[in-house]
Point group: C2
Chain length 200, copies 2
């Protein structure tokens, strides 16, 4: 509940930007959620929060057939050296789960470009085995597959998305074990796939 | 050509970050191009430059059938108020050109969300008349359509993209006349559509 008057529900009296609206809004904007005074409320007067805790897109990813060729095209277009190609990792580390079942054969190659202050462009080449990546390639061909968001408490966030009707198609750890991901089929409502990323 | 030694081709001696590598790299990274010492060179030793002048993605855009419904779903997911829906503008201002020909009927509705420090998420509902938006909807259904980059000197940048084999499918002005856009079919090499945006 607001601790201040209704026309300025500034919640954190200790904040250095307290009641200093422009830098407050800018700070919130860059962290991907609204300050209290701009946040919508539900019918009971409670603040509506982003389902994921923020709405910062950290990645836009494309499914490609031949990552070596496509990454060179992107590198030439961007005027940068082609980035290294890495694998999605071995099953022993990645522990890939596809549609709720272990998927030891599911795999991919990956390459990443800088796309902005908080954004990477990811290329993904599926390995031909069944996976959410291969499903997209078989159904849609090459193209933009998902946008990704950084989260905390992955299980809780996946459940929140499932309650909204999204389908968790695949989960696993990063290839080096330094975090985990989950893909949500949000095509019914958000018209795209989203990925949640939790780096440890 | 580098004005300094080969192992540190720092070009701008008046820069406050001159020879101060970490802040230099961070500054370049956030502006979307590499510092001289990190930039690749062609066979003649000349620096390779980004085709567009930078590689900062400023927008990721989705084609949707019903913008009013989808924008409410995104707003609820992000915990924000639904943004206003605006039109792509009247032909008198937009001067839409589709595949090289005037397209006075081509139109769309638009809505924008914050997606990060330098990124907006755009929803586009085509109006049923022929356009690059409607073509995507008819061929692919709803989904992520393009990533966009801010440019200067639009004509020059469109030509540079066409020389790479991209096809300019549509051009026009912003609905309020405050800038212009061009769509490039880059599916052959980059496996997606890109949009160039020049705000006046």
């Amino acid at each position: 509940m607001p601790t201040q008057s209704n026309d300025c529900p500034c919640l954190n009296v200790d904040c250095e930007r307290y009641k200093d609206c422009d830098p407050c809004r800018e700070s919130h904007f860059n962290r991907g959620y609204l300050p209290a005074c701009d946040r919508p409320r539900d019918a009971d007067g409670n603040f509506v929060m982003p389902v994921l805790g923020n709405y910062l897109v950290t990645q836009v990813a494309l499914i490609v057939r031949d990552i070596e060729t496509t990454k060179k095209k992107f590198a030439a277009f961007f005027g940068v050296e082609p980035p290294p190609t890495v694998t999605g990792g071995n099953y022993e580390i990645a522990k890939t789960v596809y549609m709720g079942n272990p998927a030891p054969k599911a795999g991919c190659k990956l390459a990443f470009f800088n796309g902005g202050p908080n954004l990477s462009i990811e290329l993904i080449e599926p390995n031909g085995e069944q996976s959410t990546w291969q499903d997209f390639l078989d159904k849609n061909g090459e193209g933009i597959h998902h946008i990704a968001f950084g989260v905390k408490d992955m299980n809780e966030k996946v459940e929140a998305c499932e309650k909204l009707g999204m389908i968790c198609t695949q989960r696993g750890k990063y290839g080096d074990g330094s975090g985990e991901y989950a893909y949500l089929d949000a095509t019914a409502d958000l018209k795209c796939f989203i990925e949640l990323l939790e780096s440890y």
